[in-house]
């Protein structure tokens, strides 16, 4: 919420002042505006209470002894419609609620980021993709590193080998190392279809 005096900084404290009609009003202001108003109070005898700034008299007992002309001019110089302190200004934007904090949520299991941080438990394997960057920080704290250095499962080893062979084949072709490329292609075929390769070799032997 923005300060109701300067409309620039975030509101951090509450000021209480009495209007001309004798009604106590609350203003949500930033620290600098609150400090300025307190200084103005000391100069002009206006009781301005800030809730969490200094131990002043209870807001109920704050009444302006008088409104000095400068303030009155300041406050009254504006039409009520423009005066930010008084009246309802239809053009005055409604106080906006605090910006909603958008939390990441796993679309598969529904667990939210704050739940993961609080409980230190994940909901499913997909959570590792959704919260990957946050988990890197967590793993750095818990385990001292962010990557696995062990043995991959057997079904994945074949996939790694295929990928590695394809990469090397591409490099050999680019470098025009055709003998090397031929060997790599044979290895690739053997990995992709081992049964066909065995059948072919048997036929060759029989021939």
């Amino acid at each position: 919420m923005k300060c109701e005096l300067c409309h620039q900084n975030n509101a951090e404290t509450v000021l209480y002042r009495q209007t001309d009609a004798g009604v106590r009003e609350e203003l949500y202001v930033c620290e600098s505006c609150a400090a300025r108003e307190r200084a103005f109070e000391q100069q002009h005898g206006i009781q301005v209470a800030a809730m969490d700034a200094s131990p002043l008299m209870p807001p109920d007992k704050h009444f302006p002894r008088s409104i000095p002309p400068e303030l009155e001019e300041k406050l009254m110089g504006l039409s009520p419609a423009d005066n930010p302190f008084f009246g309802d200004n239809p053009e005055r934007p409604d106080p906006q609620p605090d910006d909603l904090i958008q939390l990441k949520t796993c679309p598969h299991c529904g667990i939210a980021e704050d739940e993961v941080q609080l409980s230190l438990h994940l909901g499913c394997a997909h959570c590792y993709d959704v919260f990957r960057e946050e988990l890197k920080v967590l793993f750095k704290d818990l385990q001292g590193c962010t990557s696995f250095h062990g043995k991959p499962p057997a079904w994945l080893s074949a996939k790694f080998q295929l990928r590695d062979l394809k990469r090397k084949l591409q490099e050999a072709i680019e470098k025009e190392q055709f003998d090397e490329a031929k060997k790599l292609m044979q290895a690739l075929r053997a990995l992709e279809s081992p049964s066909e390769d065995n059948t072919a070799s048997e036929d060759t032997d029989e021939a």
Binding site: L122, C124, L135, L138, L142, Q143, T146, G150, P152, A154
Partner: protein, 368 residues
């Protein structure tokens, strides 16, 4: 062999009751246990059929008599904390090192825990056999795996290799000398954690549970190697502490052992925690040469799977045959003993009072 001359391996064998090695895996297509629902337990029966095709097993899920000692003896899930879909399977598998018993716990709907518990200390062999065993399941169940983070689990502390090694270690010497805070700090530096906080009372019987902290940054062989190295150093420290008790704090040790033996001889009611502490004193006295062990394997330290401490559990006490020394009980206790575990425990401990101080230790006592 004199206690001072024990090698690190022998020292570790003296203080280590048992070690449980666990591999955790999750099936990829289902949420982890924290987000799973009852409906997801439906495929479990079909999975059990597939598992039976891999290797025959004994389904001990509904064996309540076994359930009570499963946690205590093998470090398996407590019966009161089991998920409704929990299954406990026992496999007897022929490995290169011989026949091994593997446990497969199916938690919730997709969480597999493969474990092996032994008092032997060849961790490398056990881990290799366990990995081979788990890989057989990988041919049927697609385990959740990520290239960056390894095997995926609900807990980030287990992600990676999914390896957890837990050891039950008797550290009465370090506990007596108030070295536990230093132990916890040293363990943490070496990537080992203890199920104990320095400001807490030491666990019953001074049996501490240690486990590896990291499962991600190293392959299983390196994790096992570092863990074992720490245990060996710890074993040496513990034996030194016991020697210090036996040589430098003779009066304290003599007083402790005398109290323990007298309690074993005369006590009528002994709660479980106190019984564990009395056993701990007896074992400490035997290992540092102050007591001569009694000639009864039922009271030996690491007679495989912790059956000595197991005997102190209520379920085991009920299975005792007519306990010896029943006649030493006053009439009121003889009437109640079948209903009171603490009395049964006191009777079971009577045998320990037959232990004698060694001449060498007594000569040190008499020099005081």
């Amino acid at each position: 062999m004199k206690p001072e001359a024990l090698s690190a391996e022998a020292a570790l064998k003296t203080i280590c009751l048992k070690t449980q090695i666990v591999l955790v895996r999750n099936v990829a297509q289902y949420p982890f246990p924290t987000q799973s629902t009852r409906a997801m337990t439906v495929p479990i029966q079909a999975w059990l059929t597939q598992i039976a095709d891999i290797h025959p097993f004994d389904d001990l899920t509904d064996d309540l008599a076994f359930a009570h000692i499963a946690e205590h003896r093998y470090g398996l899930a407590d019966v009161e904390e089991r998920h409704p879909a929990y299954r406990l399977l026992r496999f007897q598998v022929a490995c290169d090192s011989g026949i091994r018993t593997f446990w497969c716990e199916l938690m919730a709907c997709n969480h597999f825990t493969f474990s092996v518990t032994s008092s032997e200390l060849d961790f490398n062999e056990a881990v290799a056999d366990l990995e081979c065993f788990a890989d057989r399941f990988a041919e049927v169940f697609h385990f959740a795996y990520d290239e960056q983070f390894g095997y995926l689990t609900s807990q980030p502390t287990l992600t990676g290799t999914g390896l957890r090694i837990r050891s039950w270690i008797h550290l009465s010497g370090l506990a007596s000398l108030n070295y536990l805070p230093q132990l916890c700090r040293a363990a943490e530096v070496k990537g080992v954690l203890t199920e104990y906080m320095p400001n807490e009372e030491p666990p019953a019987g001074d049996i501490f549970i240690l486990y590896n902290r990291f499962s991600l940054n190293l392959p299983t062989e390196a994790i096992v190697r570092d863990y074992k190295t720490f245990l060996l150093r710890l074993a040496r420290q513990e034996m030194r502490a016991r020697m210090r008790l036996a040589h430098d704090r003779v009066a304290h040790l003599y007083d402790e052992l005398l109290r323990a033996l007298l309690l074993c001889r005369h006590a009528l009611i002994v709660p479980e925690r106190e019984a564990q502490n009395l056993l701990s004193s007896y074992w400490t006295g035997c290992s540092c040469g102050a007591l001569e062990p009694i000639d009864d394997p039922a009271y030996a330290f690491n007679d495989c799977f912790d059956s000595v401490r197991d005997a102190l559990c209520p379920q085991s006490l009920l299975n005792l045959e007519t306990p010896h020394a029943l006649g030493s009980l006053p009439p009121i206790c003889r009437q109640e003993y079948l209903l009171n575990y603490d009395i049964l425990r006191a009777l079971w401990l009577r045998k320990l009072s037959e232990a004698k101080f060694t001449p060498a230790f007594l000569s040190r006592v008499n020099r005081l």
